[in-house]
C-alpha cells in the first residue's frame, strides 16, 4: 500500500508538472517562465549525470562542463552540417560524449581522490581552449546555429520533450542505483580497497559509471543546443562544471530527487533575482555555505534525515503513551 502511495505521489507530481505549460502559455511572462523551466530541467539532467559519478561512485569529476559542451556541439554539427534528423543526432551526440568520456576516464580514473578532480578540471580547461581557438569547429564568435524542425518551434513543445527526457534520466538512474551494479558504485565510494577485496574490479566499474554519466551529460548538451538554437564556445566553460557541482551539493548528492530539486530550485531562484546583477552570486554562495554547514547531505538528504528523526520521535512518543 505504501509503495502504491509513493507511485501515486510521483504520478501526481508528473501530472502537475505536465500541466504547468497549459497555465503559463497564456501570457508573455508565462512563456518566458516555460523557457526558464525547460533550461532548468536540462541542467537537472546534467546534474543527475554528475550524481552518478560523484554522488554514487564518489569520483569528483570537474569535466562535466566540457562534456556538456561536447554533447551540445556534436548535436549541432550533426543537425546543421551533416544534416541528420534531430533524434538520431541526439543519440549520436550522447554516444560520442560517452566515448570521449571513456577515453578521458581510461587514464584519469587511475588517479584517486582530489587528483581525479584536478585531472578532469585540466581536461575541461583544455576543451575550453580548443573550442575557443578552433573556430572551424566551434564557429568562433558567430557560433554554431542549430535549426529545429517546425514542430519544436513552440516553447511548450520543447518543454514536454525535455520533461520526457528528464523523467527517463531519473528512471534510468534509479534502475542503475537499485541494481547490483549500483550497489558496486556505492561500495567503491564507501571503501575502494574493500570493494577490490570482495572481487569488484574498481577501475572497470568506475570507468563504466563515468561513461554512463558522460552519455547522460551529452544528452543534456544535445537538449541544450535544441533549446538555445545557437551555440558558442563558452558552453564548454569550466565554470559550468562548478555550477553542476554546486547544484548537486545543495540538492543532495547520492539521492535521486536531490539533483532535480537543487538544480531547478537554484536555477529558478537565480533567474528570479537576476535584477540584482552580480549580487545574485553572493546569495548563491550564501545558500551553499548554509547548506554545507547545516545540511551536509543537501536539501533532500537533510529532509530525509529530518523525516527519519520525526518518525522515530513519533513512534517513541507512541510507545510512552501506550
Amino acid at each position: 500500500m505504501k509503495k502504491y502511495g509513493k507511485w501515486a505521489f510521483y504520478l501526481l507530481l508528473i501530472v502537475i508538472v505536465a500541466l504547468i505549460p497549459l497555465y503559463l502559455n497564456r501570457s508573455k511572462s508565462g512563456k518566458y517562465t516555460i523557457q526558464v523551466l525547460t533550461m532548468a530541467m536540462i541542467w537537472a539532467i546534467a546534474t543527475l549525470s554528475l550524481n552518478l559519478i560523484l554522488g554514487y561512485t564518489g569520483q569528483a569529476s570537474l569535466a562535466h562542463g566540457a562534456f556538456l559542451g561536447i554533447g551540445a556541439y556534436a548535436f549541432g554539427i550533426f543537425v546543421e552540417r551533416v544534416g541528420i534528423n534531430i533524434w538520431p543526432a541526439l543519440i549520436l551526440a550522447s554516444l560520442i560524449t560517452a566515448f570521449l568520456g571513456m577515453l578521458v576516464g581510461l587514464p584519469s580514473l587511475r588517479t584517486k581522490g582530489p587528483y581525479f578532480a584536478i585531472v578532469t578540471l585540466c581536461f575541461n580547461v583544455i576543451v575550453f581552449k580548443v573550442f575557443e581557438n578552433w573556430t572551424w569547429l566551434s564557429g568562433g564568435l558567430r557560433g554554431q546555429k542549430v535549426t529545429m524542425p517546425s514542430y519544436l518551434e513552440a516553447r511548450w513543445a520543447r518543454y514536454y520533450v525535455v520533461l520526457g527526457f528528464l523523467i527517463l534520466a531519473i528512471l534510468i538512474e534509479r534502475q542503475i542505483v537499485k541494481s547490483l551494479l549500483g550497489s558496486s558504485f556505492i561500495a567503491i565510494r564507501s571503501n575502494e580497497n574493500l570493494s577490490e577485496a570482495v572481487g569488484i574490479n574498481s577501475f572497470r566499474t568506475k570507468l563504466l559509471s563515468f561513461t554512463v554519466s558522460c552519455f547522460m551529460v551529452g544528452l543534456a548538451g544535445g537538449l541544450f543546443a535544441m533549446e538555445k538554437g545557437s551555440l558558442d564556445y563558452t558552453i564548454t566553460n569550466y565554470m559550468y562544471s562548478f555550477y553542476l557541482l554546486i547544484y548537486l551539493l545543495i540538492g543532495g548528492a547520492a539521492t535521486l530527487a536531490g539533483p532535480v530539486v537543487g538544480t531547478v530550485g537554484l536555477y529558478f531562484l537565480l533567474d528570479k533575482i537576476k535584477g540584482i546583477g552580480e549580487w545574485r552570486y553572493f546569495i548563491f554562495g550564501l545558500i551553499l555555505i548554509v547548506v554545507i554547514i547545516y545540511f551536509p547531505r543537501g536539501i533532500v538528504g537533510g529532509a530525509k534525515q529530518f523525516w527519519e528523526w520525526a518518525k522515530k520521535k513519533y513512534y517513541r512518543t507512541g510507545e510512552v503513551l501506550e
Partner: protein
C-alpha cells in the same frame, strides 16, 4: 591447496613480508599467530592480490596467483574477510551480502541458495536484511563480514582477526561458527592475536614475527611451546 614460497613484500620503503613460505592442505584450519605489526594482514592482502609480492610465488590449487588481480583470485575461490569488520555501512545487510557474490552475479539461483545458507548460519542477518550495515553491533558486523566473505562460495577463507574488539561471549560464538564453516569443507587460514582461542580450533599454526615465519607446528605443539606461551598466551 595454498603454497607460499619465499614471498617478500615491500610497502613504501618498508619490507613487511620477508621470505614467508607456508603450505595449507585442503580442508585444514590453520592459524597464523603474531603481534600487532608482525605482517599478518599484509600477508593476507598479498595472498588475495591486494598487494603484489616483490619476490616469491603463491600457488592456489597448483595455479600461480601472485600476479593475478583480486577479482580473479576471488573467482578462483579465495575469499578475504578483512580485519576490523570492514563493511559498506550505507548499504543494507542484504546488499552487503550480495556484494560478496559480485563475481557470481550471473549465477542467480546459486547466489540465492548461498544467501539462504548464510541466513541459516546467522539468522539475525535475515531479520535485519533491509537495515543499513553501519547500524549493527560489533558482533553482528563481524557475522555480516564473515557471511559476505562466504557468499562467493570460497574454497579458501582468509579470516583476519575476527575476534578483534569483541566481547568474550561473541568471540566464542564466532570461533564456533568458524569451526562449523571448516567442517562444511572450507579451508580456513585464521589470523589471530587471541592465540589460545585460535589454537583450540586449529589443526596447525604458524608464528609470524617482523614479516618472518619464526615457528610452525601442530596446534598442540605450539600451545605447549614456552615461547608461544610467554609471548601470546601469557602463561
Amino acid at each position: 591447496m595454498l603454497e607460499l614460497n619465499d614471498v617478500h613484500c615491500v610497502i613504501g620503503k618498508h619490507a613487511v613480508i620477508s621470505g614467508v613460505s607456508l603450505q595449507i592442505g585442503e580442508g585444514e584450519l590453520v592459524c597464523l599467530l603474531g603481534a600487532n605489526g608482525a605482517g599478518k594482514s599484509s600477508l593476507f592482502k598479498t595472498i588475495s592480490g591486494l598487494i603484489t609480492p616483490t619476490q616469491g610465488t603463491i600457488e592456489f590449487e597448483g595455479r600461480p596467483i601472485h600476479k593475478k588481480n583480486p577479482e580473479k583470485i576471488v573467482k578462483l575461490g579465495v575469499s578475504l574477510c578483512p580485519e576490523g569488520r570492514k563493511l559498506f555501512p550505507r548499504l543494507s545487510i542484504r546488499k552487503n551480502l550480495m556484494m560478496g557474490a559480485y563475481t557470481r552475479y550471473r549465477e542467480k539461483s546459486q547466489t540465492a541458495k548461498t544467501l539462504r545458507e548464510i541466513y541459516e548460519l546467522f539468522p539475525i542477518l535475515e531479520e535485519r536484511a533491509d537495515q543499513e550495515a553501519g547500524t549493527l553491533s560489533g558482533g553482528e558486523q563481524q557475522m555480516l563480514a564473515i557471511g559476505r566473505s562466504l557468499m562467493c562460495k570460497p574454497r579458501l577463507l582468509l579470516l583476519d582477526e575476527p575476534s578483534l574488539g569483541l566481547a568474550p561471549l561473541i568471540v566464542k560464538k564466532i570461533m564456533e561458527t568458524i569451526e562449523g564453516i571448516n567442517r562444511g569443507g572450507v579451508t580456513v587460514l585464521l589470523s589471530e592475536q587471541n592465540a589460545s582461542m585460535a589454537l583450540s580450533i586449529s589443526s596447525r599454526g604458524y608464528v609470524l614475527e617482523n614479516g618472518h615465519i619464526v615457528l610452525e607446528g601442530t596446534a598442540r605443539e605450539l600451545a605447549g611451546n614456552e615461547e608461544v606461551k610467554k609471548a601470546y598466551i601469557g602463561a
